[in-house]
Symmetry: C2
Subunit: 344 residues, 2 copies
Amino acid sequence: MREIRADASRRTPTLEDVAKAAGVSRATVSRVVNGSTTVDPRMRHQVTKAIETTGYIPNAAARTLVNGRTGTVALVISGSDGSADQLFRDPFFGRIAGGVLRHLRSRSMHPTLMLADSGQARQEAVDFVRRGNADGALLVSTHAGDPLPRLFVDAGIPAVLFARPAVPVPISFVDLAHAAGAALAADRLADRGCRRVVTIAGPADLPAANDRLAGFQRAMERRGVPYVEVARGNFTTDSGERAMAELLATVPDADGVFAANDLMAVGALRVLHEHGRSVPDDVALVGFDDSEPARLARPRLTTISQPVEQMAERMTAILLDHLSGATELTSVVFDPELIVRESA
Amino acid sequence: MREIRADASRRTPTLEDVAKAAGVSRATVSRVVNGSTTVDPRMRHQVTKAIETTGYIPNAAARTLVNGRTGTVALVISGSDGSADQLFRDPFFGRIAGGVLRHLRSRSMHPTLMLADSGQARQEAVDFVRRGNADGALLVSTHAGDPLPRLFVDAGIPAVLFARPAVPVPISFVDLAHAAGAALAADRLADRGCRRVVTIAGPADLPAANDRLAGFQRAMERRGVPYVEVARGNFTTDSGERAMAELLATVPDADGVFAANDLMAVGALRVLHEHGRSVPDDVALVGFDDSEPARLARPRLTTISQPVEQMAERMTAILLDHLSGATELTSVVFDPELIVRESA
DNA sequence: CTGAAAGCGCTAACAA
DNA sequence: TTGTTAGCGCTTTCAG
């Protein structure tokens, strides 16, 4: 005997129904529902009771239609064409989602997930917001030259980017001080006395990867190591293995390795082990990200952590500011941290 | 000079505007927009042109208000209180999201992410759908006695569950044949000649965990190993370490281990290594899930795979069936697969 | 095949 | 403080 469950016959109750049941006007019910203070306590009580007995719940579409707000933001994951599956297996994504969710829910808002991995998908993401399905967009862009930020800016949609845009686009963003993080790694290696240092860098078209590489090289130079052999990977474990094998062939007496992410570091670890090098005794190894694999590896990886959840929360906060009228662009760069474990 | 970008002054164009520009009625424009076939080609052309020049895009709220459909489904991640962060770091979640997304996007639909980790959050998830923010719900329930499924069923909301409900609830679901998967692990161990077999089970209040344990025990019995020592973990690496240490104390000559998930298997691996046991030579080890850590471990983990993406896709398909009127409950149980790598 | 008009459920002036 | 009323933008009979 619950009113909540709609009998096949009975439509779901509307403001009108509540008004009738309470013997007041729709406007008054609306006021009560929206917490207006200018309502007679007695009426408020009547209405509250009527809401209860009718099982009334406001209709979101009707509200949106009149006040233009949806309470939804699009969380757009940008990926190069077809990289979808790869992307979602990456815990990085989950951490972002978690941070976004935490911030939104305190405002009774919700994220709608979208994947923008093709021209069509990108356009659909833009249209989704243009149709008024969402108030704004959170853009997670992992690859360079991504047209996504431009698309949203041109459409005049409030949006915030996770990661600095590869090409200049007038958009707010949050990012990590990648170079500073790499410098932390360099210092760690130098402090341990490593002199024959090599590095596994990320894709050359990714700003974050280049920042890490440049930051590492600069820091090593400061520490008296002018040249660092570089091999490129693409942030996967396999590519890390290949790069490490290459490096070992070129610099057999390497005593320190900096991998631009943990996955590649894990690959390097495997190759080092196969070649009989002990980590950290023969060669010290530092990763980047402080992801799950870093914690699980044997030896546990010394690495650079990024506060992904916090960054995601901040990104969300900035978007909400824009939604409530803030017009000037904001960019926040977070500081990474050295996490010392066993590998260096 | 793009019409798309709304000048501060100009409102976004409506059907009315397009109708005026094309010299036809709103109804005709609506027909064209919705692909009605009963429209004169010439008019259609007029309208199409007008849509282009005005930069018209339909308003979702207005549509929803009249036809009752949102094109959105809620993707509700259920967690015990406060387990949010833990949950989103788990790639399992990302894989589900990926599968859901893939199926939805082909229907021009989208998932809205919700976390139901408290009584209040659960109620909000239900209300979200009741307000007409979504057409139905996808429920990912990871813990036993979860009140979530019941809540949705009682509210009369179309919903499908990922994982069999712990208590009987009339709801459609997809699940894995956990017992069969565990039997695969048992057979692998038995085939290698393991006789002193132990297992690290999951939480006792989780149906999936119990199914795996029971399936494993039954299969070992069939293979002539009537007794298997059991230690309980909670699916984390740490708990796997503790359980393995325990087991090693009780059964020092163990030659085979089945861990109910990969994370615990990785923990076991570490302890085994510390105790000087070589894997797989001294003791064979099988995990469950075929997650990233299984691929990254050294030695690489032999494990049982679940087709998470496929399951998520199917779950979504079932929900869409319900949304288009299918009324009878559906449950689909997927078969796991043995993935042979190095650890057994 | 096309147009006129009646809502969908709600909010926000504006009056009373 | 409350009620009346005019839309929000769209779909869908129902006539023509």
